[in-house]
Symmetry: C2
Subunit: 144 residues, 2 copies
């Protein structure tokens, strides 16, 4: 039984971010990879949609310039033959401020021949924004 | 081949919200269902963690009091024997203001004997907050 593509991808991703060693990750991206992290692109320019290996590697470089991953816990996971989805909790450090950031994300990934062809990431963005600016944003109570 | 529990749950959920007919949904919840929608509970009190059928039905009542579902598209989906995960795009109307709200969510669900035992929902919360308050929230650009 071979290892699921997700595990290799996950190791390579964290190595690219924390050790700034992107070669493993680059080898695991399809040339035409379809990539999106949904979130406020005004605040974090590396959010948004990308197409192709070079564009995604630039996103990874920007993430590596801004964050270090301390730990992550996979709270939910589903694995298919060539697909995977997880809900994860990340503990990060923002490198410019040295502030800890705790973040929940969900991802849906598709692989082909071991390479990532499609990734969709949803982030608990309001929580991220508050932690990043460092103060609570006042919200009216909307629901009855 | 029997229908996956997700489809029955999804129909019952939307019926409970849009037609305020919660009986089908109630029958599909495990007595001890473990439920969480991650998001700003100051703004929407029905976000957060709940345990048990009664607490979840109260959440559904509050959602039905505040929103109507116009349409939803499942952008990604994974189905296991007793589990399911999807990334979805919802078009809602906020009933108090009659404002349209477009929202992306990810959910991970577990079923047992056709009943929901565990649900985790992640919402693109910053996008939701901006649409709800009705004006853009100024964000500093944080990444280098």
């Amino acid at each position: 039984m071979t290892e699921h593509s997700l595990w290799r991808f996950s190791r390579a991703l964290h190595r690219a971010i924390n050790e700034r060693q992107p070669a493993d990750l680059e080898a695991l991206l399809d040339e035409e990879v379809d990539w999106a992290i949904y979130g406020p692109i005004d605040m974090y320019p590396f959010f948004g949609s990308r197409r192709g290996k070079a564009a995604v590697m630039e996103v990874i470089r920007q993430i590596a310039d801004n964050f270090r991953v301390h730990r992550f816990d996979r709270e939910s996971i589903m694995l298919g033959v060539d697909s995977a989805a997880s809900m994860m909790r990340y503990s990060l450090t923002a490198l410019d401020s040295n502030k800890p950031i705790s973040l929940r994300i969900a991802h849906f990934a598709q692989f082909k021949a071991g390479r990532l062809t499609n990734l969709r990431v949803l982030v608990d963005t309001f929580d991220l924004v508050e932690q990043t600016v460092g103060y609570p944003i006042h919200l009216p109570r909307m629901a009855v």
